[in-house]
């Protein structure tokens, strides 16, 4: 693994900073959640206490607390913010709840919903009745069969009043009521039968504005008659599934009891409840007027307060959840970071509020008498909500609860702001650290690479040592390493120098003792020796003579280098030189054949002819040593790429591959020659020196077919 990669990995460990930041943010969030929980719980308690003190402003009926039962036809009256249009559509009520099923013993199904503004009670009823039975002219609900919707309510003075809706054609209609001829004070609408059709002006166009002079009891002469109540208006809408009636009743007409019952014109059934069937049912659960304003004084933005009664039905609401402290749109980065730091909210229970009631552990706990706070999720993927509920005690009994909701994203916004900053900074720091380390690593490996390259090439092919290393001026460890290399190379160079001069020194130092031996032998011989003695002296002289030739070979390298230094360059024709030299070799080495391959033109060169001849001598001597008797030695001259190439090819054994590169080293001798002469490999070393003097190189190779060796020398033209 390269240094660069290693440092990069080390640099990446700085990513632990943002990670630690995340951990910190998580802890922070947990702590913030706890404290938010405590504070919201405290708020809920405070509000509950305040409301306990004034129950009449909280509960529509401070004394009564009856169980809410839709089976008995009880209806929750949603507070309506706007006056809805009477058009048969409930959508403009702006309530996120669908109508509740009316109790029915038959297959006949209907759903109803109630809402109120300050002055009116609105009713919306859907009846699943595919077959429209129109109202006949002059209908009598007791006799005539037509699709009819009965409304019964208790007036403020305690009387029961029944109205019915029916129409010949869909549209805006008014409620009608049956006025009996005699005066039985309680008309019973529970047994509707066919009746003689009394006239009912239910033309929509004429309905709404004329609220004339016909309320109450009008004309006694006719026995049973149907009277319109223009103040109770409705819109009859026919749909593919049945019909819908959206009705409006002035609040002043009624109190808290109202029964709805739908009748099928064909008699297939009814839906809903009548006052006779369910005398205790049909309760209307209103919200408390003014409670919202009262609560509004307690809550801040971002918190929603709701008061529920013991039935968990909402009595009033104030505040707004959506007030987001952060306000600004979240950028992608924040969302991205959040993944790493959000506290796990998947265990929070789901919370699905309905428009009319509150559910959940908090409310249940509060209604049981205990304040309770809880984190809930509104939906998957949404931010959690904090809920807290506290009981409202009236006269020692739990009459209801205050329920507070607060969005968790306030917290999140707070945390995000801190953490995003932390994240940005640490990421920036990490990026900077990584970039810096990467740069540093690149720089260091570049320098080490330079050093390595220099170290690789410090000892040249010719064995010369280059002493200068790069980076040696730097003060750091690499500089020290470089200087260490330089010192090492210096010592190596000294050693190499010593080895190079060792031969010369040795030959010089040994020459004197050898001369002593030889001169002593000379003197001994002059003394007149016997035959035996002379034989030994002769042997000693032979030994000394061999010793001397070894010594002069040892010293030769130094002498050759010196004479090359002093050599002069003169213009020479290589072609003439080669042909005359080879003529000489033919005489000198009759045991082998010489072939000469020269270019046709003259080959001028500025060089030292003596040295070139010496070079040639060495190459030929070498070739002759290895050429079998009768073999051929070829001397070839060519011109390649601006250099003369002089090749000497000889028959004979190939050179071992391992030796090829080292043949031209000083005092290198591996090849066994044919004669007894000492071989110190100086010959080829001299070849190299001469070639280098002429700006060329010397290379040894084997013939491709292994039939011999090729020594080639290049000489620069100059």
């Amino acid at each position: 693994m390269s240094i660069r990669l290693q440092l990069l990995i080390v640099a990446l460990t700085t990513l632990v900073l943002p990670w630690a930041g995340c951990q910190y943010a998580r802890e922070l969030e947990t702590a913030l959640r706890d404290s938010q929980e405590q504070s919201l719980l405290a708020s809920a308690g405070t509000i509950a206490n305040a409301l306990s003190a004034q129950p009449q402003r909280v509960f529509p009926d401070p004394e009564e607390s009856v169980k809410f039962s839709p089976e008995q036809g009880d209806l929750y009256v949603y507070p309506l913010r706007n006056q809805p249009l009477l058009d048969g559509y409930q959508e403009d009520w702006d309530i996120a709840a669908s109508p509740t099923e009316l109790p029915s013993t038959t297959r006949y199904a209907a759903r109803a919903q109630a809402g109120s503004t300050e002055r009116y009670l609105y009713l919306y009823v859907e009846v699943d009745d595919r077959h429209f039975d129109p109202e006949p002219a002059n209908p009598n609900p007791e006799h005539d069969r037509f699709d009819r919707l009965d409304i019964t309510f208790r007036t403020p003075d305690g009387a029961l009043k029944t109205y019915f809706f029916g129409t010949a054609a869909p549209g805006l209609i008014a409620a009608q009521t049956l006025v009996k001829a005699q005066q039985p004070p309680l008309p019973d609408p529970t047994a509707p039968a066919a009746a003689s059709p009394p006239a009912a002006a239910s033309a929509p166009a004429a309905a709404s504005p004329q609220t004339g002079a016909s309320p109450g009891v009008a004309a006694p002469p006719e026995p049973d008659r149907v009277v319109e109540e223009p103040r109770i208006q409705a819109y009859w809408l026919q749909t593919s599934a049945g019909y819908r009636v959206e009705a409006r009743i002035p609040l002043s007409f009624l109190r808290t009891r109202l029964w709805i019952q739908a009748h099928d014109g064909r008699g297939s059934g009814t839906a809903g409840a009548s006052a006779a069937q369910e005398p205790d049912g049909g309760r209307l659960y209103f919200t408390t007027a003014g409670l919202g304003d009262l609560l509004g004084t307690f809550v801040r933005d971002g918190t929603r307060a709701t008061v529920v009664d013991a039935n968990e039905l909402k009595l009033g609401t104030a505040g707004n959840l959506s007030a987001n402290l952060a306000g600004q749109s979240e950028d992608a980065a924040e969302v991205w970071y959040r993944r790493f730091m959000t506290v796990d909210t998947s265990k929070f229970p789901f919370y699905s509020p309905s428009a009319d009631r509150l559910t959940g552990n908090s409310v249940q706990a509060a209604l049981a008498g205990n304040a309770h706070a809880e984190w809930v999720r509104a939906a998957r993927g949404r931010e959690p909500l904090l809920t807290a509920a506290a009981p409202i005690m009236v006269n020692g009994r739990t009459r209801g609860a205050v329920f507070l909701e607060q969005a968790g994203d306030q917290l999140l916004a707070l945390r995000d702001r801190a953490v995003t900053r932390l994240f940005d900074l640490t990421l920036l720091a990490t990026a900077a650290a990584v970039a810096l380390m990467f740069g540093l690593a690149t720089w260091i490996s570049l320098r080490i690479g330079r050093l390595r390259t220099a170290a690789d090439s410090a000892v040249g092919k010719d064995g010369r040592i280059r002493l200068e290393m790069p980076e040696s001026a730097s003060a750091d460890e690499i500089g020290a390493l470089s200087r260490g290399f330089e010192r090492l190379l210096g010592r190596l160079n000294e050693h190499a120098q010593y080895l190079r001069t060792l031969g010369g020194k040795l030959s010089h130092e040994l020459r004197t003792p050898l001369t002593i031996v030889r001169s002593s032998l000379d003197n001994l011989e002059s003394e007149g020796l016997g035959d035996d003695q002379r034989r030994y002296v002769t042997r000693a002289r032979e030994g000394a003579s061999r010793l001397q030739s070894i010594l002069s070979a040892l010293g030769a390298a130094a002498r050759v280098e010196e004479s090359i230094k002093q050599a002069e360059r003169v213009p020479v024709d290589l072609r003439d030189l080669l042909s005359s030299a080879v003529a000489g070799y033919r005489d000198g080495f009759p045991q082998v054949q010489f072939a000469l391959d020269l270019p046709p033109m003259s080959c001028p060169i500025r060089g030292a002819p003596d040295l070139i001849v010496q070079l040639l001598d060495k190459l030929i001597e070498n070739a002759v040593d290895f050429c079998p008797p009768g073999g051929t030695i070829t001397v070839r001259l060519g011109l390649v790429e601006g250099c003369y190439v002089l090749e000497v090819l000889n028959d004979g054994p190939p050179i071992p591959e391992a030796l090829l590169g080292r043949l031209f080293e000083s005092l290198f001798e591996q090849r066994e020659g044919r004669d007894d002469k000492p071989h110190f490999g100086l010959g080829l070393y001299i070849v190299r020196l001469v070639a280098e003097f002429h700006g060329g190189t010397a290379v040894a190779a084997n013939r491709p077919d292994g039939s011999g060796a090729v020594f080639s020398v290049t000489l620069a033209l100059i």
């Binding site: 010089h508 020459r511 004197t512 050898l514 001369t515 002593i516 030889r518 001169s519 002593s520 000379d522 003197n523 002059s526 003394e527 007149g528 001397q548 002069s552 010293g555 030769a556 130094a558 002498r559 050759v560 010196e562 004479s563 002093q566 030189l577 005359s580 030299a581 080879v582 003529a583 000489g584 070799y585 005489d587 000198g588 002819p609 003596d610 001849v613 010496q614 040639l616 001598d617 030929i620």
Partner: protein
């Protein structure tokens, strides 16, 4: 034989006196013994100071000097210079283990008559010494025509070991003289390096022969700038062309 030689030496009234300045005692004694055997009176010195003291009192007939003398690495050169200052004619031979081109050139330039390496054998040394004496003696005697070789402008007096070119003297050292002599004796014949070494009674390597030839050419060119009578036959040797 030793008795005979010494007896002969002592009997002769005009025995040639040779001074050997050499710091290696064994070698010094060997040389002295060999030369004494050839009938010379030999005085040996081991360093420059004692030698110079003696020379100031009495000059020898010939001096054989080593270059490095005891602690003086180049004491022989200094001694040669001083000796030459005392006498212009005194033959001086350098006999040294140092064989570099530079040493030979310096030695000869300081006025030495020959420069021999210690590879030379005692008989060769004796021959050199005898030759030098012969040269000096010959200078004092009339010319002997039999010993004279003439090749065009070149005249070689084998007796006096003198070389002239168009009558002008060419100052060759003994080794150089014999090389020229060997070449000029048979003009046109190629002499290889070994033959030239034999002629000069020296053991030299090829390079030294080459540099001797180079020096000889230069010395002739000082007298005759267009001199090119010594021709290189590449791969074989040299020959004299007229």
């Amino acid at each position: 034989m030793r008795c005979a030689a010494s007896a002969l030496g002592y009997d002769l009234p005009m025995k040639k006196q040779i001074a050997i300045v050499e710091d290696e005692p064994a070698l010094r004694e060997n040389y002295a013994a060999a030369l004494a055997r050839h009938g010379y009176s030999v005085k040996t010195y081991s360093n420059r100071r004692t030698a110079m003291q003696a020379f100031q009192l009495h000059l020898p007939d010939l001096a054989i000097i080593d270059i490095s003398l005891e602690e003086e690495a180049e004491g022989g050169f200094d001694l040669c210079r001083d000796l030459r200052a005392l006498s212009a004619e005194l033959p001086i031979i350098f006999l040294t283990a140092r064989d570099s081109e530079l040493d030979a050139v310096s030695g000869l330039r300081l006025g030495a008559d020959d420069f021999l390496t210690k590879d030379v054998s005692l008989p060769h040394l004796a021959a050199r010494v005898a030759a030098l004496f012969r040269r000096i003696d010959a200078l004092k005697r009339p010319e002997n025509a039999a010993e004279i070789v003439r090749r065009g402008a070149l005249t070689i007096d084998g007796e006096k070991m003198q070389t002239t070119w168009n009558g002008g003297p060419v100052a060759l050292s003994l080794t150089e003289f014999w090389i020229v002599h060997a070449l000029a004796k048979n003009p046109g014949h190629v002499k290889n390096r070994q033959q030239l070494m034999d002629a000069a009674n020296v053991v030299l390597d090829d390079n030294t022969i080459t540099s001797h030839i180079k020096r000889v050419r230069r010395k002739f060119q000082q007298v005759e700038p267009s001199f090119d009578a010594i021709q290189t036959v590449y791969g074989m040797g040299y020959r004299w062309v007229e």
